[in-house]
């Protein structure tokens, strides 16, 4: 069965159809969408950053103040402050979900998710959450149509990353500051940059390279425990360090950025990114020709992400039959709401008819926002997401979602057509129509392989 180009575009490269949108299909427009999204107003802008920060400070101060006081009133006050802080965070997560639900530039949204997952940061403790919440908006999105190198730099210097991979507490072992403050070298960020962010684990780097990069990264830290990025000269290890056969001078922010640039444009990085991108969009084991084309593009441009996207979107092997991938929980939640034509307004506030079916459902399905299992992000392979237990949770969600959709007076047959168009298998369409109740019709669609694959 040959599918319409629109269908492949919406399901493989987008977030699923909306009844009120035509959907993206033209590669040029999709690349232009990257620019539009990169320039769009972020959810976590400076003002929101400030509000998150303020809520966090209030929570912390409540905990700190009046420690001797063991009264229940004080405990209740701390609880209130904690709740306010998490409410603010939840608002950001809700807004981010709603942005995907409404998005016209769906490909750009998918790319933002892809890169945020590539540079995965997850919450380590409450104060860290306030930084992680803004990471995608601040370090990833502005560079969607820019250079990989710039995105690497922004991600590396973002406080969420500095804390996540312990860079904020890494100091050159021979520095006075290290002795005075009892700090030492922490290799964590250096290792993950090589292994996950740039060259990839199969590239020919050694422990010596890990140490060299970790040494060059000393000095990259932040003001206070959660402040903004700062380069601390007195923490930076001096000397020369050999990284992937090139020599860099320690104790200089410029030199460290030059090292990152070298890694960002390294041929191994081109291969790593090309493979990962194709695996994410097309198949767990992607077509070799597509990977080669992406790799060549990355090498030719030195990591121009607009060009890389265009190569992906114009390659014939990227438009083959659907079904090579399992949609991750975040994707099915967004696609289900899009097909219902839900707007951000519907999802706001107390009367949200989809309460418990979005953020909570993601947690139940094992993909809680900002809580990826590690620096390598969410697993990519289809089999990681579908096993008996996981499918049972998807089925439960589908059943509850079915109730919410039925309550909105939608027809499951029309809904299925909207959601999948010609990617809806006739047998699935038949089963939906054969269901005894509307809610079960919705549930069958939402749990079907048709809807859960792309």
């Amino acid at each position: 069965m040959t599918l319409q180009k629109d269908t492949i575009a919406a399901l493989r490269f987008g977030l699923g159809f909306r009844p009120d949108q035509r959907g993206e299909r033209d590669p040029d427009a999709m690349v232009a969408g990257l620019r539009a999204v990169a320039a769009a107003r972020p959810i976590v802008d400076a003002a929101e950053d400030e509000r998150l920060w303020t809520e966090l400070q209030e929570f912390r101060e409540a905990k700190k103040a009046d420690r001797k006081n063991k009264s229940d009133e004080r405990a209740a006050m701390i609880k209130d402050e904690r709740r306010d802080f998490y409410r603010r965070l939840t608002r950001v997560w809700d807004a981010s979900l709603a942005r995907s639900v409404e998005a016209e530039h769906a490909f750009a949204e998918r790319m933002a998710r892809f890169w945020a997952n590539h540079f995965s940061v997850s919450i380590k403790f409450p104060a860290h959450a306030s930084r992680v919440a803004g990471f995608e908006d601040q370090a990833i999105r502005p560079h969607l149509a820019g250079r990989f190198s710039d995105m690497l730099q922004a991600a590396t210097m973002h406080p969420a990353m500095l804390v996540f991979l312990d860079q904020n507490r890494s100091a050159g072992p021979s520095t006075k500051a290290a002795k005075r403050e009892g700090l030492g070298l922490n290799e964590n960020l250096g290792r993950e940059i090589l292994e996950l962010h740039t060259l990839g684990v199969s590239a020919p780097y050694s422990q010596q390279d890990v140490i060299a990069l970790a040494m060059l990264l000393t000095g990259f830290t932040m003001r206070g425990r959660q402040g903004s990025f700062v380069y601390r000269d007195e923490w930076a290890e001096p000397g020369r360090f050999e990284l992937m056969g090139e020599s860099f001078r320690g104790g200089s922010q410029q030199e460290t950025l030059r090292a990152l640039e070298m890694l960002a444009t390294h041929p191994a990085t081109a291969r790593h990114i090309a493979t990962k991108l194709a695996a994410h969009f097309v198949a767990d084991e992607p077509p070799a020709r597509l990977v080669e084309a992406l790799e060549a593009d990355f090498r030719r441009t030195g990591g121009d992400l607009a060009s890389l996207s265009r190569t992906l979107l114009t390659h014939p092997d990227a438009w083959g039959p659907l079904g090579g991938k399992v949609r991750q929980p975040q994707e099915i939640v967004v696609a289900a709401l899009r097909a219902a034509g839900v707007t951000a307004k519907t999802l706001e506030g107390r009367n949200d008819p989809f309460k418990g079916l979005t953020l909570q459902a993601l947690k139940d399905m094992g993909q809680q926002v900002n809580r990826a299992p590690g620096p390598d992000g969410w697993p990519e392979a289809s089999a990681e997401w579908i096993n008996p237990g996981a499918l049972a949770i998807r089925l439960e969600w589908a059943a509850r979602m079915g109730e919410a959709l039925a309550a909105r007076q939608l027809d499951p047959r029309e809904y299925a057509e909207t959601a999948l168009r010609d990617a809806l298998d006739p047998q699935t369409a038949w089963a939906i129509a054969a269901a005894a109740e509307k809610r079960e019709g919705f549930a069958l669609l939402l749990a079907s392989p048709d809807f859960n694959r792309r």
Binding site: A75, N186, S382, P388, A392, E440
Partner: protein, 394 residues
């Protein structure tokens, strides 16, 4: 390796690949000649750091009562004598019959190698990943020791190990397939709709296998009054027992609420009652299989030896393991007691750990499932030396 089937998986290239019988381990039970044996293991992770010094109080240690004016457990106060040296906390009273039957044991003053920062997050990560990492602030780990141990279990299938509940359990996360099922899981569809679902899943091998297994589990669990209304200690234990009566050999779940910084006598009651209820439910639910079962309770670290200024305890180091089950050799409090004088304490505040809890976990796996010592020391708990068996099991 049998397990690799699932990872390379079918569907490398999508639906076009077609069906392959060996693609999903659930589909290929017949290809496994050996079975993982008859013994059962339940691991309960006590999240929040259980106060081992309250649960099993060293009431004959002369420093104990002095450092815990409100929170000491002794036969005279809030406790039941165990062996003339230690006393069991009164909120665990329901476990006393097990002690008398030789089905309850403890290992005192144990810990993981995790030290100093006393973060729950890092401590639990260390506990479940089973690695050597000593300091906090590490990157969250990718797999748990119980998952790695599945590689050493002959004939393990996707239902052999089950993580029970809604919590993500690093302990069972990893390369080897393990089931995750919650007591309140409910496919919520009518039998007719489930049939339709199986029909539309049939042409997708990955979904078909998972759907078949899920509906089977759902149906088999439905026999006892359907899914639980709530996820609590009792329902977690009941579901674990039910799975272990079937194909499963290993179950793991978490019980929280142990972070008792304030007014511990009040706040510890619920988690202790829950723990006792869970173990009781396991014994009841397992019936005759209890004889071949070991329940192992572990926690990320202990709590401060001295009580704090708000009648609670803060994060510590040396902690307590609890064992229950018909497979135990006797009732005993194991472990090398370090003493509680200021100089005996770790950093003048915590019970000094005198043993690595991973060693006991390794011996447990070895005894129950015959796993090889070399593989346990290399792959499951890299870097540990198993040393002498404490002979906790018969």
């Amino acid at each position: 390796m049998s397990m690799d089937f699932s990872r390379r998986g079918l569907l490398k290239g999508g639906l076009t690949l077609g069906c392959s019988a060996a693609a999903y381990p659930l589909m290929s039970k017949v290809t496994f000649a050996s079975a993982p044996g008859d013994n059962r293991l339940v691991v309960i992770v006590l999240r929040g750091a259980m106060d081992g010094l309250a649960a099993v109080g060293p009431y004959t240690d002369r420093d104990y009562l002095a450092m815990r004016p409100n929170l000491a457990t002794s036969p005279e106060r809030k406790g039941f004598d165990l062996d003339g040296r230690f006393a069991l906390h009164e909120d665990l009273e329901a476990l006393m019959p097990l002690w008398r039957a030789g089905e309850l044991s403890f290992v005192h003053a144990v810990s993981t190698p995790y030290r100093d920062k006393r973060s729950h997050f890092d401590g639990q990560d260390a506990l479940e990943s089973g690695t050597e990492a000593e300091s906090g602030g590490m990157t969250p780990s990718r797999d748990g020791w119980l998952n790695r141990a599945l590689s050493l279990l002959p004939g393990a299938q996707a239902t052999t190990a089950v993580a029970v509940g809604r919590d993500n359990m690093l302990l069972l996360d990893g390369r080897n397939p393990a089931l995750n099922w919650s007591p309140d899981s409910d496919l919520q569809l009518s039998p007719q709709a489930l049939q339709l679902f199986e029909m539309i899943s049939a042409r997708d091998p990955l979904f078909a296998a998972a759907a078949k297994e899920a509906t089977q589990i759902d149906a088999s669990l439905g026999m006892e009054g359907g899914p639980a209304k709530r996820v609590d200690a009792r329902s977690l234990a009941a579901l674990s027992a039910e799975m272990l009566r079937g194909d499963s050999r290993i179950a793991a779940f978490s019980l929280g609420g142990w972070d008792t910084h304030r007014r511990q006598e009040g706040t510890i009651r619920k988690p202790m009652n829950q723990l006792a209820a869970a173990i009781g439910e396991l014994k009841t639910g397992l019936g005759p299989i209890w004889e071949r079962t070991a329940v192992m309770c572990i926690t990320e670290f202990g709590r401060t030896a001295r009580e704090n200024g708000s009648e609670g305890t803060d994060h510590g180091t040396g902690g307590l393991m609890i064992y229950a089950g018909g497979s135990l050799s006797k009732a005993a409090v194991y472990g090398q007691w370090p003493g509680l004088r200021a100089s005996d304490l770790f950093e003048d505040r915590d019970l000094m750990p005198t043993d690595d809890l991973r060693r006991h976990a390794a011996w447990t796996l070895r005894t129950l499932f015959g796993m090889e010592r070399g593989a346990l020391e290399r792959d499951v708990f890299p870097g540990i030396a198993m040393g002498q068996d404490a002979r906790i099991f018969a």
